[in-house]
Amino acid sequence: MSESITLHSHKGGPNPWKVVMVLEELGLKYNTIFVDANTGEHKKGPYTALNPNGRMPTLVDHSNNDFTIWESGAIVLYLIGKYDTTHKISFPDFDSTAIANQYLMFQMSGQGPYFGQAAWFMHFHSEKLPSAVERYVAEIHRILGVLDGILADKEYLVGGKASYADLSFIPWNWAFGFFGEHVAGWEEKYPNFTAWNTRLNERAAVKKTKADKAAVN
């Protein structure tokens, strides 16, 4: 292991790239191991010894006795808690932290699972099930509407600066191309959301993450 952190990642999925973005923002060096979900190696040992849930990402911090942690949101909290001592993308005060965590939880439990189910029923499931697609498309629009409202008077979700809370939404925002006609016109329908998404995508760390992802896919 040349670097002190190893990220067990997945090329296509959104969640590992959320962690990459934070690593990049914090300027941390890390090794990447891509786990090949097609072979099912993530559902058996040795990977399940690291992550019994058999999903990616999992992070191992060699500088902390090989401390191992999974669930992308918990990994993000670990990284900023341990390494973002100057609060580049986090907050020194408890108040802002509580609200940033609220948005992180909203991303993790609101955006992720439902965008994921939409993608499944649109693209991966063999049989066409319009009422299932409709359910999740409605939820995508509801969530975009909620974010657009929250961002009406703000450039960023918390404290006037880009933080881990904002960044956590980006990997799924990249999937709009994938949702195609179902989200057609989202830029006009959700202008505050769109401006925020553009702002975040202009960050060097986000651009680098996007390029790294494109390079392996």
């Binding site: 019994p52 669930e71 408890f94 009422s131």
Partner: protein, 248 residues
């Protein structure tokens, strides 16, 4: 800190659901006074402007705390973030948490996210397709029941190897609290609980706690166990829920 005045500083907006009871259980375990504002979801009150000002996502639970150290009231929503808020603000003795930055604390965060992003959303979809969806789609029902059972098996393995019987370390934490309410409605979601003996043992262990029982009965005791005893009651409950769940 926690007030002894007539009006408690914390107001909890909730109803009898697995996400709502997480917060009342944590408040009871911490011995904090709080006021309960019951939201009747069937009236759409959660989408009214006054509530959206508290939670723009239009869902419960949410809390307001007027004793926030900076003197301004704070609103927090997302059950997982509320649990983090409560222990970081009020659990100085680590009754249901671990010191920040400890190994156990990070493990608690990991299992907290696992419930809030995995078990909750997937079991919620199982409920939808198994109980409420106007069009019955066997594929979708099986998909979410199978995924929920897979997630349960991850909990099962963790609990089977735990010497204390709790998810992390030697005590009940917000990781257990966030999970409990969903496990108790497993049968409603179409999940075969008999497959998960360690999880059932854990459920019994938690239910011996008076504070947990008090929190679980907020704003009133759950009717789900009673309902599951009769097919007519199940049918009635499904229909009543479908009215508010299906439009949005």
């Amino acid at each position: 800190m926690s007030s002894t005045a007539e009006t408690p500083a914390i107001t909890l907006y909730t109803t009898q659901t697995p996400n709502g009871v997480k917060i009342s259980i944590a408040l009871e375990e911490l011995g904090l006074p709080y006021t309960v504002k019951k939201l009747d979801l069937s009236t759409g009150v959660q989408k009214e402007p006054w509530f959206l000002a508290i939670n723009p996502n239009g869902r419960m639970p949410a809390i307001t705390d007027t004793s926030f150290p900076d003197g301004k009231a704070i609103h927090v929503w997302e059950s997982g973030a509320i649990l983090q808020y409560l222990v970081e603000t009020y659990d100085k003795d680590h009754k249901i948490s671990y010191p920040k930055g400890s190994r156990e604390d990070w493990q608690v965060q990991q299992w907290l996210f696992f419930q809030n992003t995995g078990v909750g959303p997937m079991q919620g979809q199982a409920n939808h397709f198994f109980r409420y969806a106007p069009e019955r789609i066997p594929y979708a029902t099986n998909r979410y029941i199978a995924e929920t059972e897979r997630l349960y098996s991850v909990l099962e393995a963790q609990l089977a190897s735990s010497s204390s019987g709790f998810l992390v370390g030697d005590r009940l934490t917000i990781a257990d609290i966030t999970t409990w309410g969903w496990i108790t409605i497993a049968e409603w979601s179409g999940i075969d609980v008999a497959k998960f003996p360690a999880l059932q043992k854990w459920q019994k262990l938690l239910e011996q706690r008076p504070a947990l029982k008090r929190g679980a009965d907020v704003p009133e005791p759950s009717k789900i166990k009673e309902t599951l005893k009769s097919p007519e009651a199940i049918e009635k409950a499904q229909q009543a829920a479908t009215k508010w769940i299906v439009p949005k």
